[in-house]
């Protein structure tokens, strides 16, 4: 058994720094690289792309990325694990095989994890009494059933472990938990037992630290942000994991950014609920047991993590169509910038009201003044300029379209000193709402396929 493995974080979301995974495989030693591509609404976007074109439905950026990194990955025997397969892991795999073909790389083994996509199973599950009601507010799925766009089970680390055992160098999954991408190689390399809850929790905590990329190594750091060096060349985090579950968080030498207990703490508290019960398909991790120690510059030791048995349920992430929105902005200049922007808002609302349009919500914010602070905003008198930002939401697309036509006329028919309208009419977009539910683990089975090309 190896005494330690280095797992690199390559991507914190779809759209993250394109050079980060390239730097991770080139700037120093790593054994594994995990890349998280899926946010809550990403699956619905991918599902829509697949409906239009059956060969799509995965994170397309993976293709040019692998053209760049595949030679390093193969030559250095780095194993890459990503959930960028979205709703079409097979098509993603085939795209990577095509890249290998183009680069004349032979014998590449790629594994896919399937079975998380239950969009076609919803009614069959319902007939079995698995209702998929909203786990947060208890609402019945039937209230939105015709509008459902995607439905995916969050699998954990073990299907990936199986793919690694079958020799996959690259593992492509659909909706796997972000933390499972990091935990899997630790289970595989160190032979951890599926009921060794403390170790599974340690790997899960490590996954939480890596899953947002640069947010653990000095990015978006609200502590002494000025003290973070060279963010232009930020090194994404790397976990040096050990068989006993202790981990050192670090980054490649000669990269920018900062790994300190403060930057790691900020990531640990990011998007968590009850810290004693961080629930994943693999275990329940207790974040109040995590011990951090600054061991050296850019080296933070993580130890002491305790865990509890996993629940009998998987979380299901569903999305459904819920109307349209549009947003528009106009910039008002001194003097009395805020007063003029407020007047413009008043005028537009009267015009929309005169048209008897049906909106679920009209929201006005003044960027530079109150969009973050709401009623806590201060110092309106000294503003040089303010951006009026108006958004509307409606199930009636025509109402949203009409709003888009009503914004620009304010330029010549509203308060003075207005600019910043170069983008043209606001474009209506579809609202994709999120529906979380639970499903018994016994109702779904992950499938693992490893093929060589």
């Amino acid at each position: 058994m190896k005494q330690s493995i280095r797992i690199a974080s390559g991507q914190g979301f779809w759209g993250d720094l394109p050079t980060a995974p390239v730097a991770q495989v080139r700037n120093g030693p790593v054994d594994y690289m995990m890349m998280d591509y899926l946010a809550e609404v990403t699956m619905s976007i991918l599902q829509k792309q697949k409906m239009r074109e059956p060969k799509l439905g995965y994170a397309k950026d993976i293709v040019p990325l692998f053209e760049e990194i595949l030679p390093d990955v193969v030559n250095k025997n780095i194993r890459v694990i990503t959930n960028g397969g979205g709703v079409n892991p097979i098509a993603c795999r085939d795209a990577i095989f095509a890249v290998a073909e183009k680069l004349k790389i032979r014998g590449l083994k790629v594994g896919v994890v399937l079975g998380d996509d239950i969009l076609g199973e919803i009614d069959r599950l319902g007939a079995q009494g698995i209702e998929l009601d909203n786990m947060e507010n208890g609402e019945s799925l039937q209230s939105i059933r015709p509008n459902v766009i995607s439905a995916n089970v969050y699998f954990g680390a073990f299907p990936i472990v199986e793919a690694l055992q079958q020799g996959a160098q690259i593992v492509i999954t659909g909706r796997t938990t972000d933390t499972g991408l990091t935990l899997a190689p630790m289970i595989y390399e160190f032979g951890w037992n599926a009921s060794d809850w403390n170790k599974l929790a340690a790997g899960t905590v490590t996954g939480h630290i890596l899953e947002c990329g640069g947010q653990a190594s000095g990015g978006n750091f609200s502590g002494d942000w000025r003290s973070v060096p060279d963010l232009a060349h930020i090194g994404f985090p790397i976990a040096e994991a050990h068989p006993d579950g202790t981990v050192v968080i670090t980054k490649h030498d000669r990269t920018g950014g900062l790994v300190s207990s403060a930057t790691v703490k900020e990531q640990l508290v990011y998007e968590i609920g009850d810290p004693k019960n961080y629930i994943t398909p693999d275990c329940i991790a207790d974040f109040t047991t995590i011990q951090l120690k600054d061991a050296a510059a850019n080296r933070v030791e993580v130890s002491g993590v305790k865990g509890k048995p996993a629940t009998n349920f998987y979380k299901v992430s569903m999305s459904y169509f819920d109307g349209y929105t549009a947003f528009g902005t106009l910039t008002y200049a001194w003097p009395d910038a805020l007063e003029k922007a407020s007047k413009a808002d008043e005028i537009l609302r009267i015009r929309l009201s005169d048209l008897h349009l049906n909106f679920d919500e009209i929201r006005t914010e003044f960027l530079g003044y109150d969009s973050c602070f709401g009623p806590l905003a201060e110092n309106a008198q000294t503003m040089n300029e303010v951006v009026l930002r108006m958004g509307v939401r409606s199930r009636d697309k025509e109402a949203v379209n009409r709003f888009s036509k009503e914004l620009a006329p304010l330029i010549l028919t509203g308060p003075p000193a207005v600019t910043g309208f170069a983008g043209g009419r606001p474009k209506p977009s579809e609202v994709i709402a999120y529906w979380p539910a639970l499903i018994p683990k016994s109702a779904v089975t992950p499938t693992v396929i490893v093929e060589e090309h």
Binding site: L292, V431, A433
Partner: protein, 107 residues
Amino acid sequence: MNIQLIQIAHARSGDKGDTGNVGVIARKPEYYPLLVKYLTPERVKQHFAGICIGRVERFELPNLGALNFLLHETLGGGGTLSLKNDAQGKALSSVMLRMKLEITETI
């Protein structure tokens, strides 16, 4: 003495649906008891009046010198439903750190 929370803490915030999460971390270990004492859920709810419509839950992480707050009904519906500029609650940390506190201790 009168202080502003940013003097003794840093923070990061994010979203889960319509709920905002704000993790508040003591800048020094000796500041953590101040956070526990003064950042009650009631005080935080009051501070976020007009922003957080629902309830405020607080969790303690003494091992990290940190508190985690869940601010329910805060993001205008959350996700793509929200018409807010800060639909993902990324700036809730700034709103939190702006809180003014009157403390009996000296720092």
